[in-house]
């Protein structure tokens, strides 16, 4: 019975997530990030591009709002260097202003290359890897203790799962049975320096590791918004925390950025910018 209700709810909400509209939003977000990249010598384009669909699906589908249209659920960007995508989503939602984004990394602005707690829409200061999941565990624990139904959605890089602190948080979330915690791993297979499947082979397999820590683990195509939406929605009635292992491509959407480590941090030059923009605009 419970399962049926759950399925109905997923079905109902699946209808609410329009893959075509999501694709258009994600195209806009990528173009806006490229635009900002022309104002600064460096920003994390590729790490942001790899989680565009993840962040979009959360903000524009998965996370619930109250009657005043405020989010009841919490988004926490553990991979702080991917925050450009969060900034542009918050800009589109009117939480951050165009002036905020234009002043990115400038002395008079309030947005830096990593998110800062208490900036509108930002649930935690991150940037040093391996901190976000611990914060999310504490927040999810507090929400459960207070008796609310708030859910915590925490986006992590796969590189963060090389940090011991992330596994301390995984174990504790499993111990506490935090069913209101959903983590999403941006599994682009790259840390800053190299491909993890080549340089850090013991990182895999993931699913068994995660399940052994008392979590549900779901593998999902990380650039398919509808798939992410559905998988995240299926976590709603879980008694244990859920990790979505989102298979992604670092730099997704721009051919010369995809899977090329230098784009972890570099901004495109004007010629590269034009090409990147064209690829984003003409992508199917």
């Amino acid at each position: 019975m419970k399962l049926e209700r759950s399925r109905e709810r997923i079905e109902e909400r699946r209808n609410a997530f329009d893959p075509y509209a999501a694709k258009q939003r994600c195209r806009r977000y990528r173009k806006r990030i490229l635009e900002i990249s022309q104002q600064v010598s460096a920003l994390h384009v590729a790490p942001a591009f790899s989680c565009v669909e993840i962040v979009d699906a959360l903000y524009n589908g998965v996370m619930r709002r109250d009657a005043k249209c405020e989010y009841r659920d919490v988004f926490l960007m553990s991979k702080g260097h991917g925050c450009m995508i969060q900034y542009v989503v918050l800009e589109e939602q009117g939480v951050l202003s165009r002036a905020d984004i234009d002043a990115y990394c400038k002395p008079h602005g309030r947005l830096g290359a990593h998110p800062d707690y208490e900036t509108p829409g930002i649930a935690a200061s991150t940037g040093s890897l391996g901190h976000g999941l611990g914060l999310a565990v504490g927040q999810a624990f507090a929400e459960r203790l207070k008796g609310g139904d708030t859910r915590l959605y925490c986006v992590l890089s796969d590189g963060e799962f090389q940090e011991g602190s992330t596994w301390e948080a995984m174990m504790m979330a499993g111990n506490l049975g935090l069913g209101n915690l959903v983590a999403l791993m941006d599994n682009n297979d790259f840390s800053g320096l190299e491909r993890m499947s080549e340089g850090h082979k013991a990182f895999y397999p993931l699913v068994d590791k995660v399940r052994a820590f008392g979590w549900r683990a779901i593998e999902v195509a990380g650039h398919d918004g509808a798939a992410i939406f559905e998988a995240a929605a299926s976590a709603a009635d879980s008694a244990v925390p859920t990790l979505l292992i989102c298979r992604t491509t670092k730099g997704k959407g721009v051919s010369f950025m995809e899977n090329v480590p230098i784009w972890h941090y570099r901004s495109p030059n004007p010629r590269e910018y034009v090409q990147a923009l064209m690829e984003i605009e003409t992508a199917p």
């Binding site: 707690y117 901190h131 914060l135 565990v137 203790l145 602190s165 301390e168 174990m171 111990n175």
Partner: protein, 306 residues
């Protein structure tokens, strides 16, 4: 101190549903066990995992709770240092990190368990308040303050068990951020904090025996330091002594001397701190303090030899 902390926390926790305690496999028995039994949902043991202990208290504070993290000082401050810095201090969250066994309290356990530079390190981090009570009574006052304050994160540095109380008849009350005169005197003023206060008293007795009227001040709040109070002492007393169970670099003595320099004080300042070294001595707390050059006779002798 440990028991007084536990009793106070239990009493406060019964009244305030925001109070939680997150421990990392080390817990004060007694009243905290009672708290655990009565409020199991507000007691969390992360196991031997200090990074998540601090990380999750930060998240809890962000969602309106008032958590205390608790373990041995080295593991509460050093092991998860970046979580304290980034999660608690950078975000300025009201979490109290309790370090039990500050200084060399765990004398026989070796340097892995000696928090001999904890105060220096903690004082260096922006937003982090540092409190080191000298006895069980001050521990109670400090715990009460921590439970209800709105300043931000606190490192509450405690001793262990069995410390005597010095402050029941103190001329001044415990006030956060203010020096506290706990013994009157007029010739010499000893500034100290934490469990080594027992030696400050012993030194004071030696000085009194030679006719030097000796005051003792508890510098329980190391950060923010009561600079105005220090200035007054430097102006009032011809001789000021700092006794601390902390590494010399970045401790109280350095700060007092810097203030003295800034105001051009003419006071004679004697400072006694731990040596800047790891000493492989496995005796009692007193034995290892002696090995660091903090013997009562040695300190009194140096002061009297001025």
């Amino acid at each position: 101190m440990r028991n007084k902390f536990a009793d106070t926390f239990y009493e406060l926790g019964r009244q305030d549903p925001r109070l939680c305690i997150v421990v990392a496999d080390i817990s004060p028995a007694g009243s905290i066990e009672k708290f655990r039994t009565e409020f199991p949902q507000r007691f969390v043991n992360t196991g031997v995992a200090e990074q998540i202990m601090i990380g999750m208290t930060a998240g809890m504070a962000q969602r309106g709770l008032r958590p205390f993290a608790y373990t041995i000082a080295t593991f509460s401050l050093y092991r998860p240092f970046e979580m304290i810095r980034d999660d608690l201090c950078y975000q300025n969250l009201c979490v109290t990190v309790v370090g039990i066994g500050g200084g060399l309290t765990y004398s026989t356990l070796g340097a892995t368990h000696h928090a001999q530079e904890d105060v220096s390190i903690a004082c260096a981090v922006p937003n982090l308040t540092v409190i080191a009570p000298c006895d069980p009574l001050e521990t109670e006052s400090a715990t009460r303050w921590c439970a209800d304050q709105e300043h931000g994160p606190v490192y509450l540095r405690l001793g262990k068990a069995g410390e005597p109380s010095f402050t029941q008849a103190a001329p001044q009350p415990w006030v956060f951020g203010k020096l506290r005169r706990i013994r009157e005197g007029s010739n010499v003023c000893i500034l100290s904090y934490g469990p080594i206060m027992k030696r400050a008293y012993a030194v004071a007795e030696r000085l009194e025996a030679t006719g030097r009227s000796t005051a003792i001040v508890s510098v329980h709040t190391l950060k923010p330091l009561d600079v105005k109070g220090i200035v007054e002492i430097l102006k009032k007393f011809p001789s000021v002594v700092v006794i601390e169970e902390c590494a010399p670099n970045g401790g109280l003595a350095m700060q007092v001397k810097a203030i003295a320099f800034d105001i051009g004080a003419q006071t004679r300042i004697h400072s006694f701190a731990l040596r800047d070294e790891f000493i492989h001595c496995y005796g009692s707390h007193d034995d290892i303090l002696d090995a660091h050059g903090l013997g009562v006779g040695e300190m009194a002798g140096r002061i009297l030899g001025e």
